[in-house]
């Protein structure tokens, strides 16, 4: 088959596959699939943040800001659900904006630890204040998506399949926007800020402003992912967004590789399948964290460029211009 034909057919085929997929899965697998869609958005937004070279440990808490925000807007102000999600995402971006003032005085390792501290403080505030955050037990009975009737189709969003389609559409649009951002002059400047920050600065680029911009945009998408999740499961608490969840996101990104757009998404999908489908159904329930940990260690040791490097070898493409050997140059700046 000629190469161009594959390119033309790839997207429609993927679309058909994703639409057909839930119908061959069991109910619990459908639920996992819905989660997978939220997580793909989360990890893709995480990569947008890492484009400028900073690795945050607060990203899951930012996701939680979106979740708490959206849930509280519906609860206290009666905002209808899809609108509240956008407001939640906006809140996450706003909080990220505020946090960027102290955090972007730091770089590299200090940023990593600083973002962790900032995230933990937010999380502990949710835990401490029963009003309005619900304390350690969190928020319950979050408003679900209202049913929608469009002509012959009616969507009952208590059904995982319906919610999956909804989330899939939202996430597809978000991924497209992020892709466009990365390919725009702004996105190229993000790369420049990462790999040549002194040069970029001397060329008149406001490095800190671009770091902040990447952080704010990424946080907005993470917040949206959190909001999507909150209105699906209907209950959130501070533990849903603790450092253990952050470790999973970090692992997806590292195992997948962050040099390409699809790397972290690939890592998320592969590890979720490994985790949920293979390990859970094979009955390794207790051993799952252990195997997960082992996969993490083995992949940094033996596959430092991530799963994406395997794909690139198979497809026979050269890595993207920004993609160098090591995941980050933290040692230069730490």
């Amino acid at each position: 088959m000629p190469r161009s034909l594959i390119h033309v057919l790839a997207w429609p085929l993927l679309g058909v596959f994703l639409i057909a997929l839930p119908h061959v899965l069991s109910f619990s697998q459908q639920e996992i699939l819905a989660y997978l869609v939220f997580n793909v958005l989360l990890v893709a937004s995480y990569r947008l943040l890492t484009l400028t070279g900073e690795w945050s440990l607060g990203h899951v808490v930012i996701m939680g800001v979106g979740a708490y925000g959206s849930a509280l807007y519906t609860k206290h102000f009666g905002v209808p659900v899809p609108v509240s999600m956008l407001l939640g995402a906006g809140t996450a971006a706003l909080i990220a904006m505020v946090l960027s003032y102290p955090l972007f005085r730091m770089k590299g390792f200090y940023f990593l630890i600083g973002s962790f501290a900032a995230g933990e403080i937010i999380r502990l505030l949710w835990k401490r204040y029963r009003e309005p955050f619900g304390g350690p037990k969190g928020l319950k009975r979050i408003d679900p998506m209202p049913d929608i009737d469009i002509g012959i189709w009616s969507f009952d969003f208590f059904e995982p399949v319906s919610y999956y389609y909804f989330a899939l559409a939202v996430v597809a649009v978000c991924l497209w926007i992020m892709w466009r951002i990365e390919r725009s002059p702004v996105g190229l400047t993000f790369h420049a800020v990462h790999w040549q920050d002194n040069l970029a600065e001397s060329a008149g680029v406001n490095v800190r402003a671009y770091r902040t911009l990447a952080f704010v945009i990424a946080s907005g998408f993470a917040g949206l992912s959190g909001a999507l999740m909150a209105h699906y499961i209907g209950t959130i608490n501070p533990t849903s967004f603790d450092v253990e969840q952050m470790v999973f996101v970090l692992t997806w990104a590292i195992v997948g590789g962050t040099a390409t757009f699809y790397g972290p998404i690939l890592g998320c999908v592969v590890l979720t399948i490994l985790n949920e489908i293979v390990l859970r159904e094979m009955g390794f329930e207790q051993m799952r964290p252990m195997i997960y940990g082992l996969v993490m260690i083995l992949s940094v040791l033996f596959l430092p460029k991530g799963l994406e490097s395997i794909v690139q070898r198979l497809v026979g493409r050269k890595p993207a211009p920004g993609a160098l050997a090591e995941p980050t140059r933290m040692e230069d700046r730490a």
């Binding site: 690795w55 102290p102 005085r105 730091m106 390792f109 200090y110 630890i113 600083g114 962790f116 501290a117 900032a118 933990e120 403080i121 502990l124 505030l125 835990k127 401490r128 450092v243 470790v247 970090l250 692992t251 590292i254 207790q286 051993m287 799952r288 964290p289 252990m290 997960y292 940990g293 082992l294 996969v295 993490m296 260690i297 940094v300 040791l301 430092p304 090591e326 995941p327 980050t328 933290m330 040692e331 730490a334």
Partner: protein, 289 residues
């Protein structure tokens, strides 16, 4: 009121003692290998579970068990150096991620071996020193404080007075220059890892009868240790000890007069403040950072 202050001060002193053992180990590992050991809290946990296994279950003498805990956790440290940190020497983020993976393995192993429930370690000694009715210091806590003082003094003497100590400090300052002087980087890294992990292990073993021992106990320890090493200036051993004392007093007093969550928030805010105002920490120097 004075009695409450005195009692809280004693509690803080005890917290400072075991926190400084953990934090100094973390700093030592970072200094020599340049890697942040996220699994350090779990090494602390492994020390505590050594006590659960050998002292509670097998009834071996406590002093012997503490010694074995140091050896066992120190050996785990050497294993980490050999299997992860040495191959990932030029990839600090990789080392950090690998240590997170190791943390999950240790947690899962302990959960499978002992169960996720809290373990009860019977007290080694019931004796309590009573200063007054309401100011009491259990002897076990006194042991932790004394052990911290002795061990940290011994470490200080080792680093400043022995050839091994010189080699260790030299390779912490400049790895290549040290290697040119004929210092074995591999050997110093292993010594640093053994001491660092061993200190976490001894802290876990000594505090096991006093705290709730469970597979997730390392979590709060590592967060506190991060706060301490950042406030103290990463790479500074003296800074870590002083910051451990400051942090322990602030945290214990806020816990007593408000509550534990507020104390955590105060501690984290303190760290954020130091990061913003003086990222090299209170005692770190610019070139070490």
């Amino acid at each position: 009121m004075i009695e409450l202050l005195a009692q809280t001060g004693l509690n803080a002193l005890y917290a400072a003692a075991y926190m400084s053992l953990v934090a100094v180990g973390l700093v030592l590992i970072f200094g020599v290998m340049g890697v942040i050991n996220f699994a350090h809290g779990e090494l602390f946990m492994m020390g505590a579970y050594t006590v659960v296994a050998l002292y509670t279950d097998f009834q071996m003498p406590y002093v012997l068990v503490v010694g074995l805990a140091v050896m066992f956790v120190g050996a785990l440290g050497i294993f980490m150096e050999w299997s992860m940190f040495r191959p990932l020497r030029d990839n600090p983020l990789g080392g950090l991620v690998a240590s997170i993976g190791f943390l999950m393995i240790l947690q899962a192993a302990v959960s499978m071996g002992f169960g996720v429930r809290m373990e009860h370690v019977p007290p080694v000694t019931q004796e309590v020193i009573e200063f007054s009715d309401r100011v009491r210091l259990p002897v076990q806590r006194l042991v932790v404080i004394l052990a911290a003082v002795v061990l940290l003094a011994a470490l200080w003497a080792f680093l400043k007075k022995t050839r091994f100590g010189w080699a260790l400090r030299a390779s912490a300052q400049d790895r290549e220059a040290a290697a040119l002087q004929g210092i074995s980087i591999r050997q110093t890294a292993q010594i640093a890892m053994f001491i660092g992990a061993g200190l976490a292990g001894v802290a876990g073993a000594l505090t096991a009868p006093l705290i709730s021992v469970n597979p997730h106990m390392g979590h709060s320890v590592i967060i506190a240790a991060f706060i301490v090493i950042i406030v103290g200036g990463i790479g500074s051993l003296e800074g870590a000890v002083i910051a451990a004392v400051i942090y322990a007093f602030v945290h214990t007093f806020v816990t007593t007069f408000y509550d534990g969550v507020v104390a955590d928030i105060v501690g984290l805010s303190l760290m954020l403040l130091v990061l913003v105002v003086k990222p090299t920490g209170l005692f770190g120097t610019a070139d070490r950072a």
